[in-house]
């Protein structure tokens, strides 16, 4: 079945809500005509307004209400159209959801999923584009899931809903229209498992979120030049690096982490340190592609060279493989503007 990322989220909701009547779907705009970028469209009609509903603009209370619902036996999935809005609920997320199981000695579980959508481009600006993944990943008790493909959107959302732990589910807005062949299967998924999406022998790219399709694009170009790239979809943030990562690096001995968040105090740096504890990596054998530690500007002109894309990955690979003649005429591919993910995107956010 071929689905877009948005449709896959929608399908995951449908299947999860059919199989478990305790699953609830709520969020600002969850039942409006846009259905949160079509991810929640049609759910109210299928499952009724007691299980699928719009909410007041009360992020902190609603998050606490979700915590209450969860300890009362329900499995709420709360959606924020931007991660930035969820910042009003940090008290409930950090002091409540993340801690409940621990601070009551295991007496409570908090099975809630908080979807946060990360914006980019089209003038999203400083407060509609933040990927604050390091903030959430730094809180013990939270699990941070960051799907990179439509398949992830389906299987990771299903697994997140079934998880007894609170999940921060980070969706990149630019992935919503990406599509792939989907297997409606999630039962075998370990929520912390990374996935190798392309095998290769020269260099390993750990790609997160929207950097996954950009990495695949880069790898396909590099293939024409005889460079073999291994890509691991880094889709769950956890303290210890996955075995797949170590295995891959033993083979390629070179690493690029392609991130959508800032590099300062980042998950990427922590991960590199963790990896270096397990396997030797010389300082010229790894690098991090991440956003600069500045707020994202709004203006079309200011964002011109702001974002990372496949070209940055190409250049980085050439640099690390010490290939001098790295002039590749790929600009012809770039007919679309830098601040939209594709012609499908017509704004506003």
């Amino acid at each position: 079945m071929k689905l877009t990322f948005s449709q896959a989220i929608n399908q995951a909701f449908i299947d999860a809500m059919k199989s478990d009547e305790k699953v609830l779907c709520l969020g600002l705009g969850a039942t409006d005509p846009k259905g949160v970028f079509n991810t929640t469209s049609g759910l109210e009609k299928l499952f009724g307004s007691q299980r699928v509903f719009d909410i007041p603009t009360s992020e902190n209370a609603i998050t606490g209400i979700c915590v209450g619902l969860s300890i009362g036996g329900y499995k709420p999935v709360l959606t924020h159209q931007r991660l930035d809005f969820a910042l009003l609920s940090l008290d409930q997320i950090i002091n409540n959801a993340a801690k409940l199981h621990y601070m009551f000695g295991g007496a409570l579980n908090c099975p809630i999923v908080i979807r946060m959508i990360i914006g980019r481009g089209w003038g999203q600006g400083p407060t509609h584009s933040q990927n604050l993944q390091m903030l959430f990943a730094g809180i013990p008790g939270l699990k941070v899931i960051i799907p990179g493909s439509a398949q992830d959107a389906y299987s990771q959302l299903r697994a997140s809903i079934e998880s007894p732990d609170p999940i921060i589910f980070l969706e990149h807005r630019w992935l919503h229209n990406s599509f792939s062949e989907i297997k409606l299967n999630h039962s075998s998924l370990d929520i912390r498992e990374q996935s190798t999406v392309k095998e290769g022998s020269d260099i390993t790219i750990l790609a997160t979120s929207y950097m996954l399709p950009e990495s695949i694009k880069a790898a396909n170009i590099l293939e024409k030049y005889g460079i073999s790239v291994e890509i691991i979809n880094f889709r769950c943030y956890y303290f210890e690096p996955d075995e797949a990562i170590i295995k891959s690096l033993k083979k390629t001995k070179r690493l690029i982490i392609a991130d959508t968040a800032q590099d300062c105090f980042s998950i990427s740096y922590t991960l590199v340190e963790k990896i270096k504890n397990k396997i030797h990596l010389g300082s010229d054998k790894y690098s991090i592609l991440a956003m600069p530690s500045v707020p994202e500007p709004t203006s079309y002109y200011l964002t011109k060279n702001f974002y990372l894309n496949y070209q940055d990955i190409l250049n980085q690979v050439f640099k690390m493989l010490d290939i001098k003649n790295n002039f590749i005429e790929e600009t012809s591919l770039d007919t679309i503007k830098h601040d939209i993910p594709g012609e499908w995107f017509k704004g506003p956010f």
Binding site: I65, G68, I71, G72, F104, L108
Partner: protein
């Protein structure tokens, strides 16, 4: 009402045959007296430095908890705050598990992970307390929504203080509860101080807190003046009846006064942040003394027996807590997640 539950868990005194006690005053007194004796025992034991966590005692404020105790069911939910011992006990929470939690033992209700400010007893629907002002208002509201979705006539009681009314989450939660007509009771114990800060430096003068709740949309909003336990009981009884019968969320402001310091085992009246006359006036309105004066001769005799009974019960709980094995330090690294 779940009479057996109340007898077994709230008062925990089968041998005194509470079922035969008809006098409301006496019942309220018994619940309050037990709570106070527990709190005073904590206060007394605290100096031994074996209870090594902050404690916020409810001495003087017992009546609101007692009113709940006599009217709530085991299947109902309740949540509370940093000052939550009384509410935990009122809901029927296990005394030994609470005292053990204060001592940081594995036998504690949160296995020593939470301490005094994180009490829980799921068996009786007491779903936790929070160390962050206003934090549990939302959780309790969520439990009210769960209760409504369950359609089994449950309610959720949310114990809060006057400080929590200053948090945005109060408005957000109450708005939501009114919107969804949730079976929630917001029981605000107004003791007029947030730590050392009087109400007058925190909220505009002459604000009627219960009118505020009404303006947000509760059909019923009550004010209970002067630490009066019988009035508190009657209001709570009515509120619970209304809440159970789909009148939506209900707000109750209960005026009361804290006798000891905000946090800790001592009296801090020497700091003079509260007027001496004010303290003396409220001490006169001691809900326990008021009801003790109303006991009949027969009840007075029983009451003497009861006091011996709870004294033993509390001593036993402290002994149990002290005797309990401390957890291994390695357990600090467990239960961070519910799953792998």
């Amino acid at each position: 009402m779940d009479e057996n539950f109340r007898i077994r868990k709230i008062l925990d005194m089968q041998e005194l045959n509470i079922q035969e006690i008809k006098n409301l005053n006496y019942k309220l007194l018994m619940v309050m007296k037990r709570i106070r004796e527990v709190e005073l025992s904590i206060s007394k034991e605290y100096k031994n430095q074996e209870i090594r966590c902050p404690v916020h005692l409810s001495v003087g404020q017992e009546a609101a908890a007692a009113a709940i105790a006599l009217n709530i069911n085991k299947t109902d939910y309740s949540v509370s705050t940093h000052r939550g011992h009384a509410h935990y006990l009122a809901k029927g929470g296990d005394l030994k598990a609470m005292i053990s939690e204060l001592y940081g033992k594995k036998t504690g209700c949160s296995k020593g992970k939470g301490g005094s400010m994180h009490l829980i007893d799921k068996e009786v629907g007491f779903m936790g307390t929070s160390a962050i002002v206003g934090n549990s208002i939302a959780t309790g509201t969520g439990l009210a929504e769960a209760a409504k979705l369950n359609s089994k006539g449950q309610i959720s009681v949310i114990h809060i203080g006057d400080g929590a009314l200053e948090e945005g989450v109060f408005y957000e939660s109450l708005n939501y509860a009114c919107l969804k007509q949730l079976p929630a009771i917001y029981l605000c114990e107004n003791n007029f101080y947030s730590v050392y800060s009087p109400l007058k430096v925190r909220q505009p003068p002459n604000r009627d807190i219960s009118a505020l709740a009404k303006a947000i949309g509760t059909k019923f909003s009550y004010k209970c003046k002067g630490n009066d336990p019988v009035n508190a009981h009657n209001i709570v009884q009515k509120a619970i009846y209304q809440c159970r019968n789909n009148y939506g969320p209900i707000f109750i402001e209960y005026e009361t006064y804290r006798w000891l310091e905000h946090c800790g085992p001592n009296n801090d009246d020497n700091l003079n942040y509260r007027d001496q006359k004010e303290i003396a006036d409220w001490r006169e309105k001691d809900p326990i003394k008021i009801l003790e004066r109303k006991l009949t001769q027969k009840e007075s005799k029983d009451y003497e027996l009861y006091k011996v009974y709870i004294k033993n019960e509390i001593a036993e709980a402290f002994q149990y807590a002290k005797d309990s094995k401390p957890p291994n330090y390695i357990e600090a690294f467990t239960e961070i997640y519910s799953s792998k």
